[in-house]
């Protein structure tokens, strides 16, 4: 059996497979369907300083091999998360990654302060949510803004800080470098690509929010390319995601440069997708006679 252990931003992961923020809630629901301790980590639903109701429905639309979502960061707020969800999450033997979004740099910092002693293993700084007006992607599309959020969170946080990048930019490597220089311990990418669907009978956008974030297999080749570009640009470790459905996809993402991977949309098709992806990686390593999963990260052979 191949060794799936990875140390990522100083945190030991049993497997390189985590579940993506916003697709797994706070873990309870899928916890009824499989043993959460089989996961490398759980990235919880995006948190904000204050509770949010999110956008009105419909919040999802299907696209060719993809989905658009416009949840808009519905969440109970960081305080209730710490009080109501962390006790359960702390009982698990897997890494907990808190995903945070703020309207201002100060909000990000305040959340990082609150979460630092709450028992989470990593803080993921979401500067890439396409579904909220203030904050979110606005921070992710400018090097300066991305760097200042990173700096503020890094200064306060007592756990490793991972910054989540948006694919809706001209040059993702440039943003990655700015975030690395500002002290990020790791990067995650990609968040969703901004998209739109229109119902031609009613002439209305399918999503109440008009636009939404594209995820799923459709974005996979874009995600692989971006992970590869970012791998080339920075030294800090990368959590790669975007359309991973199988162990083969995960291996491809790792060859491109990811140290660990996240599985999101795939869960909607198969609730056990993250486990199947983990098994698929292990099978690949065995077939190729590779002992440690860490040996494949970034090992694409360019033409």
């Amino acid at each position: 059996m191949a060794n799936l252990n990875v140390t990522f931003a100083g945190v030991p992961f049993k497997t390189p497979v985590v579940v993506a923020s916003g697709t797994f809630g706070f873990g309870r629901e899928y916890g009824e369907m499989f043993d959460l301790n089989q996961l490398g980590g759980i990235c919880v639903k995006g948190l904000t300083l204050h509770p949010r109701l999110g956008n009105p429905p419909p919040r999802i639309a299907e696209t060719p091999m993809g989905i658009l979502n416009s949840v808009g960061l519905q969440n109970p707020g960081v305080d209730r998360f710490i009080k109501e969800e962390m006790p359960f999450l702390k009982t698990l033997n897997t890494n907990i990654i808190a995903n945070i979004s703020g309207n201002t740099v100060e909000e990000y910092a305040e959340m990082a302060e609150k979460l630092s002693d709450a028992g989470v293993d990593i803080i993921e700084v979401n500067i890439s949510c396409p579904n909220v007006k203030a904050g979110g992607a606005a921070f992710g599309t400018s090097c300066d803004a991305a760097a200042s959020v990173t700096r503020a969170v890094r200064r306060i946080s007592r756990v490793p800080v991972m910054v989540k990048l948006t694919p809706n930019v001209t040059d993702i490597a440039e943003i990655a470098r700015a975030v690395e220089d500002a002290g990020a311990d790791a990067l995650s990418l990609i968040n969703t690509l901004l998209g739109m669907r229109i119902d031609i009978t009613t002439r209305r956008p399918v999503l109440h929010n008009n636009t939404g974030g594209l995820s799923g297999p459709a974005v996979f080749p874009v995600a692989v390319r971006m992970v590869w570009q970012v791998r080339d640009a920075v030294k800090i470790p990368i959590c790669g995601m975007g359309g991973i459905m199988t162990g083969e996809d995960a291996v491809e993402m790792m060859l491109a440069g990811a140290d660990i991977v996240s599985v999101g949309t795939a869960l909607f098709q198969d609730p056990l997708a993250a486990i199947r992806v983990t098994e698929g990686i292990a099978r690949y390593l065995e077939k190729m006679n590779i002992e440690n999963v860490t040996e494949i990260s970034g090992k694409v052979l360019l033409n």
Binding site: E29, K45, R59, V71, P271
Partner: protein, 251 residues
Amino acid sequence: MPITTLATVQDTRMLTESVCKMVLFSPELARLAKPGQFVHIKCGGESLLRRPISICDVQEDTLTLVLERKGAGTQYLAERRAGDTLDLLGPLGNGFELPDGKLLLVGGGIGVPPLLYAAKRAKGADAVLGFKTKSAIILEEEFQSACGETAVVTDDGSYRLHGNVTVPLREMLHRGGYAGVLACGPRAMLRAVAEVCAAFKVPCQVSMEERMGCGVGACLVCVCETEKEGERAMSRVCKDGPVFRAEEVCW
């Protein structure tokens, strides 16, 4: 606790030009399923998302679904034949509460099917079923044998009563004797039913529809705005619903 399972299609039949009845062999789901719950079905390799379909009936080891062909997903389902397998996730959702006493079931169009299983499990039930037109009527006989009284209305008056479900609903509530109303159908109908029930002070449960992702309550895409004890919330149709107390829904 939902499970994923492969169910074998035992039988399929078109009830109308576009509505298909499908019997699936799945002992586990048949054992677990409660009225008002649904299954989330994988529709081949071309549709990324599963499709939510209510459980219409349960018999020993089988599940009956009744579904309308609308887009690619339900088209795929309607094309399945005996012997094919389907990948189901379920049973999902809270289902109806079945209080002691006689219930009044109010269904509209493709919202009718889940009420059949409720009728069978209830301690007595009457039904009001509404359809667009005569050719769209489904399950009338099944309700007639499961219920005391079954009123059928059509929008265009092409069969039985002319008009909408609230007419017989009012009459029957007026007569009285119901412990509650369970309703499933288009949103506008549910709202109207809720208003009538409120006027008659009869507890009403409504089964809501929303586009879904995970189906299990994790992704928050399927919400319905609710208000309970003064607190507004975006409740999950797949997990907190699909059945809600009518008075909690923000219409």
